[in-house]
């Protein structure tokens, strides 16, 4: 009988410690194979689509729209992962039409009709490095 309140106190303290542990354990992002697959696949598709940017945009409009749609989906997917702010910001930078990676390059192609071969080669290289940054961060998250 004497041990009753003491046991209750111990149980409460144990529950509090476990609750704190669970709350602390919720810190930090976790790995997503889907995100890696998205970034790898979009890296290749972006390079393939941009390789055509020396040709009239109007002839490749559908392909560009499809690519934009896939990047939007990947970004939305990243938003579904919890504690994933930095990866989400990377995707936003990549797709931003007013930026200077994939979104910006596609907008420039659309605005100017076609782009020079040298520019396409150089900007594709920068975009590819951008996708590498996304992949690198994702693969280093705990599995």
């Amino acid at each position: 009988m004497i041990n009753g309140p003491l046991n209750l106190l111990r149980a409460s303290a144990a529950l509090a410690a476990i609750g704190l542990a669970i709350a602390l354990g919720a810190c930090g992002p976790s790995f997503s194979q889907v995100a890696v697959n998205n970034a790898s696949s979009l890296k290749d598709k972006s390079a393939a689509t941009l390789a055509k940017a020396t040709l009239p945009y109007a002839d490749h409009k559908d392909e560009v729209e499809a690519l934009r749609g896939e990047v939007d989906k990947a970004c939305e997917q990243a938003k579904k992962q919890s504690r994933n702010d930095t990866s989400i910001q990377q995707w936003e930078l990549m797709r931003n039409p007013d930026g200077h990676l994939l979104g910006g390059a596609l907008k420039r192609w659309q605005t100017e009709g076609k782009l020079s071969p040298a520019f396409v080669t150089e900007v594709s290289d920068q975009i590819s490095k951008g996708f590498d940054q996304i992949i690198d961060l994702e693969t280093k998250k705990p599995k």
Binding site: A21, G28, F119, Q126, K140
Partner: protein, 109 residues
């Protein structure tokens, strides 16, 4: 024909002026950041200025590529921030383990 050395010496002067005029309070940091950015971008800058001189790139192309370089630097900074968060998560997981272990020892013994 203008050389890459001409370009870097012109650029060095412009960066000094820029820091003097607008970033005086952060002079050392601003100059270091600008130099680090240039160092990381040197190979690309050399190629792009060559392509600009050969008129394979327009000035607008060149500006866009430099801005892309800046976006990439931001991507890299985000990656570093994300990795720091991962490290913090691992540390906290270790703390969680310690809390559970201590709780088991003290309260369930």
């Amino acid at each position: 024909m203008a050389s890459f050395d001409d370009f870097t010496s012109e650029l060095d002067g412009e960066i000094k002026d820029l820091v003097e005029k607008n970033w005086k309070d952060l002079k050392a940091e601003a100059t270091d950041d600008a130099r680090a950015f240039l160092q990381q971008s040197q190979a690309d800058l050399e190629r792009w200025t060559r392509l600009l001189a050969a008129k394979s790139l327009t000035l607008q192309d060149f500006e866009f590529l430099l801005a892309a370089k800046k976006d990439l630097a931001e991507m890299a900074a985000l990656k570093r921030a994300g990795l720091a968060q991962v490290q913090l998560g691992r540390f906290i997981n270790a703390v969680v383990g310690a809390i559970i272990s201590a709780a088991a020892k003290v309260f369930t013994a």
